[in-house]
């Protein structure tokens, strides 16, 4: 993926304030949006692509760690299959009080240089919201 520019549509479908054109996301933002989309899609949700998606909502109210780690494994496999631009280095479940979020650390190559970033998906809220930042607890998977 060297010397590539990644350009995607902003999934919020927001308009540029000045030109009224659809906003675009580029490079790392495009990759991050793609990862979040893969994780937040339910299996069998996408037409004619029943295997696409991670089944994250199944973790809601789930207390069994075996189910959690199985889902984390699914997320890793999904990103590997559908987001070939990145290499996953860590997927970390973060439990804070009654909340569960999943942090994903990944690297990608842009303009011939390797770059590292992370994104976080909140499971507890039902529809995963995201943010980036450092992980605070949990063991890497």
């Amino acid at each position: 993926m060297a010397n590539n520019t990644f350009i995607d549509i902003d999934f919020a479908f927001s308009a540029n304030k000045f030109t009224s054109d659809l906003n675009l996301v580029q490079d790392n933002s495009a990759i991050k949006q793609s990862i979040r989309n893969i994780i937040s899609t339910e299996t069998r949700e996408k037409s004619f692509k029943p295997r696409f998606g991670s089944g994250l909502s199944g973790l809601l109210f789930e207390q069994d760690d075996i189910v959690l780690y199985t889902t984390l494994s699914t997320i890793r496999n999904q990103i590997r299959a559908y987001e070939p631009r990145v290499t996953i280095s860590k997927i970390i479940p973060i439990r804070t009080n009654s909340n569960l979020s999943i942090s994903i650390e990944y690297s990608y190559i842009l303009d011939g240089k390797q770059k590292i970033d992370k994104t976080k998906v909140d499971v507890t809220s039902g529809s995963p919201t995201t943010g980036s930042g450092s992980s605070s607890s949990g063991s890497g998977y």
Partner: protein
């Protein structure tokens, strides 16, 4: 890069998807169309799904426009209507019974109830449709008649007439049209006359003829009368109904294929007699024997492939029994057999010793002495050319 042509004949989702991706790949504004997680990929999915949906819908639409490719019964009913063919719905299982030891004279009225049993103890009700008369055959007093299985018998039900449309609607789609009887009291005087089913605008029908036509709808049957004026000739084809007319219908609602396989029959009580005839006597010596074996030919729905085969042939024969396929389609259409393969027809000229002017036919599993064979022969004889003799039973 040239913009690729879109293949309109593609019916597969994957092909449609690839074509849209191929189109987007010619544009430089976006690069992420190849990554499944991208928003652009989701939009491509949406476009492909919508295109696929429209193509499938239009494909179904075009298929249903022709009888050859129709998959829905409603479409075939509509196509068949244009060919003058009324598609039957559920059909009764029937059996021919021979009654002996019920006295020296007497008759059984229509819609008499007969209980049929299976070896496993299952019981179903069968009904007579026509009166059956005891008569002496080779010195034995007996009556032979056909009984039809039905879970419900509607007898002399009044249905409201629509004089403007010259029709009356039966709100029952599962009736067996073989068992339908229509009686009309034209002026509401209390005298009902039975009308006969006409299949086409027969040239010799006059306004005094008591006929009705039958049209199948999705939720029932339209009984049509002849009072409409033909726009082409300006004539009224048969007797017309008016606002005072009373119409009553009788028919059976069968269980379909579930009525097959019943072999042991007995009257439920003593059947009534038709007006002017004595009631038969039921005693220990009364025997009611199924001469055709177990009840058979019950159907839940007509076979769509059989309809596609018979409807055009029915039309091409113009309701006349001239060729072998004419005779097959008439017999299958009248419910004497379920498929043309069940009917063997041999022209007299095909025999080793040719018998010109005679057609031999046989329905598989039906003996010449059975009521079915007799009435099928009568039906073909009515529709055959003058000078042609129809004989049941193919010579060996």
């Amino acid at each position: 890069m040239a913009i690729p042509n879109i293949k309109l004949t593609s019916l597969e989702y994957d092909d449609i998807y690839k074509q849209i991706v191929s189109y987007i790949s010619t544009k430089s504004e976006f690069t992420d169309y190849n990554f499944e997680g991208s928003a652009l990929s989701t939009i491509v999915d949406l476009l492909a799904y919508n295109t696929f949906y429209q193509i499938v819908f239009q494909n179904i639409l075009v298929n249903e426009m022709f009888i050859d490719s129709s998959q829905k019964l409603e479409s075939i009913i509509s196509h068949a209507k244009l060919q003058g063919y009324t598609v039957p719905s559920r059909q009764s299982s029937f059996s021919t019974l021979r009654l002996r030891g019920a006295g020296d004279n007497g008759a059984v009225a229509p819609y008499s109830r007969i209980q049929g049993s299976r070896a496993n103890g299952d019981v179903k009700l069968f009904y007579t449709i026509d009166p059956a008369y005891l008569e002496s055959i080779d010195g034995v007093i007996e009556a032979t008649f056909t009984v039809y299985e039905a879970k419900n018998a509607i007898i002399k039900q009044l249905i409201p007439p629509n004089s403007t449309k010259q029709s009356a609607f039966i709100t029952q789609v599962n009736l067996d049209i073989k068992t339908l009887k229509v009686e009309v009291d034209l002026e509401g005087s209390g005298v009902f006359v039975e009308y006969r089913l006409a299949t086409s605008v027969e040239p010799n029908i006059t306004t005094s003829d008591n006929v009705f036509f039958l049209e199948r709808k999705l939720d029932g049957y339209d009984v049509m009368f002849g009072g409409l004026t033909d726009p082409l000739t300006g004539r009224i084809i048969a007797s017309a109904i008016n606002d005072n007319t009373k119409i009553r219908v009788s028919y059976l609602i069968p269980s379909g294929i579930a009525g097959d396989g019943y072999s042991s029959f007995s009257f439920v009580g003593t059947p009534t007699a038709p007006t002017g005839y004595d009631q038969i006597s039921i005693s220990k010596s009364t025997s009611l024997v199924a001469t055709t074996g177990v009840s058979k030919n019950g159907k839940n729905q007509p076979n769509l492939d059989a309809l596609k085969f018979f409807v055009p042939r029915y039309f091409s024969s113009q309701d006349r029994a001239i060729t072998k396929s004419d005779m097959q389609s008439i017999l299958v259409g009248a419910g004497y057999a379920s498929a043309s393969e069940d009917i063997v027809i041999v022209g007299g000229e095909e025999l080793s010793i040719p018998t010109l002017g005679t057609v031999y036919f046989e329905i598989v599993g039906v003996a010449a002495t059975e009521q079915t064979a007799i009435s099928a022969t009568k039906l073909l004889q009515q529709k055959a050319s003058l000078g042609i003799s129809i004989t049941y039973g193919v010579p060996i």
